[in-house]
């Protein structure tokens, strides 16, 4: 069996990205346990997360509104395998449309009662209503929401 010689190297690159005023306001809202959205004056689409300009109409500025943070699950998956630097399985990721917004958020779903991981797929339904569970320590980030759970 021949030995395949390999050389290793890796990228560890740091980035520090300016998020802009609109996202800053959204993040500050999350820190205060609010979901802030904005709305296009022309097409009336509501955006969560908010957008610096309407991508469809290509105009700015958009009007700010606070929305009831409940959302509807559009689709989901359950990851059963461990991948490098990705969460420990099983974990549920879902596409969630908050309060009728034009765009969806991706987030985790938690607190799903189950005995075996293989039961998870049938416990989550497309169309189910979910609400955020806030992290105790919040820093102004999408993970200020720990995960979403079935709305009570």
């Amino acid at each position: 069996m021949e030995i395949i010689m390999k050389k290793e190297y890796s990228w560890k690159l740091d980035y520090s990205v300016t998020v802009g005023e609109v996202y800053t306001k959204f993040y500050e809202g999350l820190k205060a346990r609010k979901i802030l959205a904005n709305k296009c004056g022309k097409c009336n689409r509501v955006y969560v997360p908010p957008r610096p300009f309407c991508d469809i109409c290509f105009i700015e500025p958009l009007e700010w509104i606070e929305v009831d943070p409940k959302g509807i699950v559009q689709t989901y998956t359950i990851t059963y395998q461990k991948f490098e630097n990705l969460p420990n399985p099983p974990y549920i990721t879902a596409v969630i449309r908050i309060n009728g917004s034009a765009t969806s958020l991706i987030h985790f779903i938690g607190e799903i009662q189950h005995e075996k991981p293989s039961e998870l797929p049938e416990k989550i339904k497309i169309g189910m209503s979910v609400e955020p569970v806030w992290a105790d320590e919040r820093e102004g980030d999408i993970l200020d929401i720990k995960y979403f759970r079935a709305a009570k």
Partner: protein, 386 residues
Amino acid sequence: MPKEAAIIGIGNTKAGSALSETREKSEIAFSAINAATKMANISIHDVNVTFFCTVDAFEGTNRLDRIMNSFGQSSHIPVVMVNTGGTGGASGFKEAYHYVTAGFCDIAMVYGASTAGGVVDAQQILNTAAPPLFEKPFGIGALQMAAFYATRYMHEYGATEEDFALVAAKNHKAAMKNPYAHIRKGFSFEEVLASPMIGWPLRRYEICPVSSGASAIILASEEKAKELSDTPVWIRAVGSTTDTFQSGYRDYIGFKQLRTLSEKLYHATGIKNPRKEIDVVELFNPFSPFELWEYEALGFCGEGKGSQLVREGITDIDGELPVNMSGGTLCTNAGISASLNRIGDVALQLMGKFEGIQVRSPKIGLAHAWGGNLGQFNCIAILARQ
């Protein structure tokens, strides 16, 4: 009126596992390029423009056009790098087609080196393609994005896990006969259904491998094609479509933009009944369920009826419309080759030179690929022997 262009050379390497590859990356590309220039009856020095397609983070360098150094070409030869994710090969092909038909060059080459060579964990890399602020933190890679589409499709149209396994088994069976395919295990329907669930509802044998392989295609103008080739494959139409980067805009119900693109290209080529008029298809299925809604988007059946097409054997070997006789991206995914091979394999079928299951006398073929933040870009090429 744009000029005509044809494919006159195709070169592939036999795919294998990226982890157990013994050749250095540029050697693999060298092999594919030589095979392509040989079929085209040209020397590398006859190429006017080179399109190199890739996905940065897979190559471990951000000076991707340097991978092949100059490979025998003079410093006047432009090297254009194209990165549209997994459909890079198809996008590069489209650019090459534009250059040739616009009259900027007579002979263009498109190629991809063995994109995934050197990768330690592909999902980690795919996670870097997720929008950084709002999607990347959730460990989203191609697997999860693909699963979102599959879960939604089941909900919309009642497709089942069995349907997904059936289409995977069809591809695995075809790959057995393809000497260039990576996974040639011929997993049966039962074996696919019994394979471990990786990201619900996607099972291991419904998910592409990480392969090692390179591909190259040579395009030529009408005059050069007639001069150099006995079997030119004419490029009747090429197009692409772009979806949003942030996936939150999507409804995850099939590929609507692909539907619009296919209608536009069918109109341009005069195809009125794609299922009847197209003889051979290679479409992009790194996750087997995608084949089902791609049938729909490409007009082979009505909405939600993709499963029926598979169950009836329409797209199987000896079916009315054979799809993915190569085994598709499901059985071989060497990165760029995955998209370039869709075009190359259709061209080989039309030339009668496909080394796997050769469709009997095909006249018109369709190749499709997608890439970017899962299906952000979709490309189609329609090819013909006449």
